[in-house]
């Protein structure tokens, strides 16, 4: 049952025929885990909290630094030095007291990830490195958790929604991590906040659709976003028969952590 305040708060989305009163009740009972509360995680968390997703897990080991603030819009100047999960929780609670926040203020690894994700209905990958991305995607596959993959660098972004076993997985796109030292993803490559905001908002949208089982999710296709030329493309993508995770002869049968170094700017 929604109380009168909730009926007002969510009235603009309850009016949507694909959501409605029942959909709103479902959102309030749903649990979403957002891994990373930075450039992608900030808009994801804001929109999921505003929409009334009842339980939000936030995993982030990091603290707020001044160079985060041009894109990580959950965190303010006064939060510098605070744990990101604490800063994020405060903003979410102020935005919507309906939301229960569960914090994981440590680095996810092969030992702890299963326990963290087991209780959630959908997982949103909003991390900044490939090591964590492979760990999250493999774990979601083994535990059959829907996964919203989003990533950004520079003016570019990609997005895909993964239903383990049904749609192409992360390794159907990127079978193995990039060769160490070849990929510029780290701090010195740069990223514009609005680009992360765009992809993060789309991740939140996909997560809500997955939670409510509405519309057509971005599964079996990839969205490729080029913000500099404002070119958005949808690329149909198939399951890879030779996928090391979900293919015909899988070779990955347990969680693994890669050591991947990014290319440094010279």
């Amino acid at each position: 049952m929604l109380d009168s305040n909730q009926q007002l708060r969510y009235s603009r989305q309850i009016i949507l025929k694909d959501i409605g009163y029942k959909g709103q009740e479902k959102l309030l009972k749903s649990k979403a885990l957002v891994i990373g509360s930075g450039g992608l995680g900030s808009p994801v968390l804001y929109y999921l909290a505003a929409a009334g997703v009842g339980t939000l897990g936030i995993a982030d080991f990091d603290t707020v630094s001044i160079s985060n603030l041009q894109r990580q819009i959950l965190h303010f100047t006064r939060d510098i030095g605070r744990k990101k999960v604490d800063s994020a929780e405060e903003k979410i609670k102020n935005l919507n007291p309906d939301v229960k926040v569960i914090k994981y203020p440590y680095r996810i690894n092969a030992e702890n990830i299963e326990e963290i994700i087991q209780d959630y209905d959908v997982i949103i990958d909003a991390v900044d490195n490939f090591t964590a991305r492979y760990l999250i995607s493999d774990c979601c596959y083994f535990m059959k958790k829907p996964l919203i993959e989003g990533a950004v660098v520079g003016f570019e972004g990609i997005l895909m929604t993964i239903f383990p076993g049904e749609s192409p997985c992360y390794r159907c796109l990127y079978p193995e991590p990039p060769q160490s030292g070849t990929i510029p993803t780290c701090v010195d490559m740069g990223i514009l906040g609005a680009v992360a905001g765009t992809i993060g908002a789309l991740q939140a949208l996909e997560a809500i659709k997955v939670l409510l089982n509405i519309g057509n999710t971005l599964s079996g296709r990839i969205l490729s976003f080029d913000g500099l030329n404002l070119n958005i493309r949808e690329i149909p993508w198939k399951k890879r028969k030779t996928c090391p995770l979900c293919g015909e002869n899988p070779v990955i049968k347990e969680l693994q952590e890669y050591e991947i170094k990014c290319k440094l700017k010279h």
Binding site: G36, G38, G39, L40, G41, D125, A126, V127, D128, N129, F130, R133, G150, A151, V152, V153, E156, G157, I158, C172, L173, Y174, P175, P178, Q179, T182, I183, T185, C186, M189, I191, A196, I222, S224, R233, I235, P236, W237, K238, R240, T242
Partner: protein, 66 residues
């Protein structure tokens, strides 16, 4: 010969392998994955696949930041 590269028509003066096409576009082959005519092809095969008229190629960069 004309191919379609990431949704755009592209004229090739001469037949090229996937690998050579990437290099001619200043794309480091280590930084992308390739879908060729709807199938995903392994990196090791890129030097041996020569493009033909009307081939469709999707080149997706590794993007991992957040």
């Amino acid at each position: 010969m004309t191919i379609v590269l990431n949704g755009k028509k592209e004229v090739l003066e001469q037949q090229k392998s996937i690998r050579d096409l990437l290099i001619s576009k200043n794309i480091d082959p280590n930084t992308v994955v390739v879908e060729y005519n709807g199938d995903i092809v392994k990196r090791e095969e890129w030097a041996n696949i020569f493009l033909n008229e009307d081939d469709v190629l999707e080149v997706v960069r590794f993007v991992g930041g957040g």
